[in-house]
Symmetry: none
DNA sequence: TATGAATGAGAATTCATTCAT
DNA sequence: GATGAATGAATTCTCATTCAT
């Protein structure tokens, strides 16, 4: 009621806005090619607020990564093997010039910060492990794990190529167009029990 | 009678040394995270020589890209469909902490320079097209092209994950260990005629 | 209650200070012999602020030039022919080791920047034209214009020689000492109608 | 006879070529805006030769200045007052985009080197003194000296404005067109006995 | 809470100069 | 005598970060 009408004065909202913007920029352009001023300007807030809310550029990146990881966990909780290709198609399909930030791309961007890198690697590892587990084979079987990692790699590669641009028809294929070949790919690499 | 012991004085060799070092650093760390001083120091020469031989950082990057593209063309001239998985395994297997620079990784690094980006995209596009052509299907068939692009994406993803590190067993799988699942992957996506 | 004692924190004042310092240095030493660090140090502020307020070295130079031109226009609005020598004497007399920056000297310094050069040339041209017009002769008469340009040239030359130093008595002649010969000079070149 | 036909191997000629080129560039662009590579390239010889023949950039500049001074002395030995305006018109008329290097312009360019600056100032001082002496008045009379310095200043200003460009009709006035107003100017400032 | 001013470190690039052939 | 390779210092510019209001 006391807040001015035009101006935001909501710390939580400002923080979230910065986070969202940062996620898109970091994912799209990489860590070092993205400047804090870019992010702040695009978010329409003052640069110094990044320091206030996230301590530093690395802190902001870590926050982005954590947020992406959380969202990813929520979205891909327990996926049965038969639907894995659909989840991948889903993730890939949302990559686009103006879309929401992609969680997956961020997993491929390094800040050089060791802690952030460890988070990245941890997520990648457990993602592959969960995928391997979904096959019903022994979770420790190296063959299955290797193949699961390849499925993960393929997914990331597709996301990446879409983001690079200028690769038609991959670039603008929709979810369904992506799902069919992905089903074959998953089936070939992870035959299930 | 032979080369002087202490100091090099061979422009071609210096240039090549810089190029090789730059290729590895750019491929590993990306364009903007790599400083010219990094490259020069690792190559053991003065930074100013980069300007001398390559004009600018962008010029150096373009030279790296061109070199990578040339090498890639030479190595993957006309590959029959049945051997595609071997070539991919080959490329992926050479990724390692100390190995020679990977041509493929560089294709995923952008400098923001439009010309370099166009080279990158061109190579990616024609690579997928050659792959599609190798199936014997109509080269214009969008379904085949999409699947070829996915094979390419998967290859790049694997290379990328290996370079991220800490993904066992993918990380240290050798050529043969990679070849088997890759054969299945290629066969599933590109059934040939 | 008043301004803080130790540190300034006033963007307008800082900008003006940089501008003033830059005008003197550029005028005295020329564009390329003047470094941004020189200017910033003399102004007692951080170098990066130049980028903040003026974009680049060229931007700063252009700002100096524009400021000089404005001031010059204000000071020499409509001068009757009989007083031209006084205005020139005035401008020349203020040249000194520690005095305020001279607008005139700056008109002789080139930055190589085409836009700035065009400003310079424009001011020089119109100054001569106004001088020619003050004679009451036809403004298009090439003879009068040539002579007006010579008066301008003489004025600039005097300013320049004073700034070079070590030319006595010219060096330390005051306004009145300069005015007498200048009156003869103007009268000889521009006899009026 | 042993010298190769196409290639020059004549140290005196190379030195002279460098000197001539340097004089034009220094005069036209100023000391710090001129790079040694510019000069060497324009002269068609290797940069390192500048070091060999002139020690350093400052050495080269000093050599240019000395050469200009010598030439000037030779050309303007004992000029009777009645012909001063012709000599000035002569010097000014040779300024042009492609002409030979102007000795006068160089007198206005500073390298920051104290020795060179002293040479410059010395020449300027004695030139004015000789001019004053030509009037037949007492050489120590400050009024006459001041006026002689003004004539010198006017000459330099005209040369300078011609070199700045885009000042018509001054820019392309020929010797005779310049001579008439110059006669008036000299007569007005230095009435002779 | 938010803003804009100010700073210092580091980046690319230019350039005079020295070295080896 | 001449050339091209190599170097180190300096310059402009960018950017994350801190400070004052």
């Amino acid at each position: 009621m006391t807040a001015p009408p035009g101006r935001r004065r909501d710390s939580a909202k400002t923080r979230a806005l910065l986070l969202q913007t940062a996620r898109r920029r970091f994912a799209r352009d990489g860590y070092s090619a993205t400047t804090l001023r870019d992010i702040a300007d695009e978010a329409g807030v003052n640069v110094a607020l990044i320091g206030r809310y996230f301590e530093s550029k690395e802190g902001l990146f870590e926050a982005c990564l954590t947020a992406a990881v959380d969202e990813l966990r929520r979205e891909t909780g327990e996926v049965p093997l038969a639907e894995v290709h659909l989840v991948i198609a889903d993730q890939a399909a949302r990559i686009g010039p103006e879309g929401p930030p992609s969680q997956l791309l961020l997993l491929l961007r390094s800040s050089g910060d060791e802690r952030a890198d460890e988070i990245r690697r941890g997520v990648l590892r457990t993602s592959a492990e969960r995928l391997a587990a979904a096959t019903g084979n022994s979770p420790a079987d190296p063959g299955t794990l290797l193949r699961a990692q390849m499925v993960l790699a393929a997914s990331l590669g597709i996301v990446l190529l879409r983001s690079v641009g200028a690769m038609e028809p991959l670039q603008s294929a929709d979810r369904d167009a992506l799902a069919a070949p992905l089903r074959d790919l998953v089936a070939a690499l992870l035959p299930g029990r």
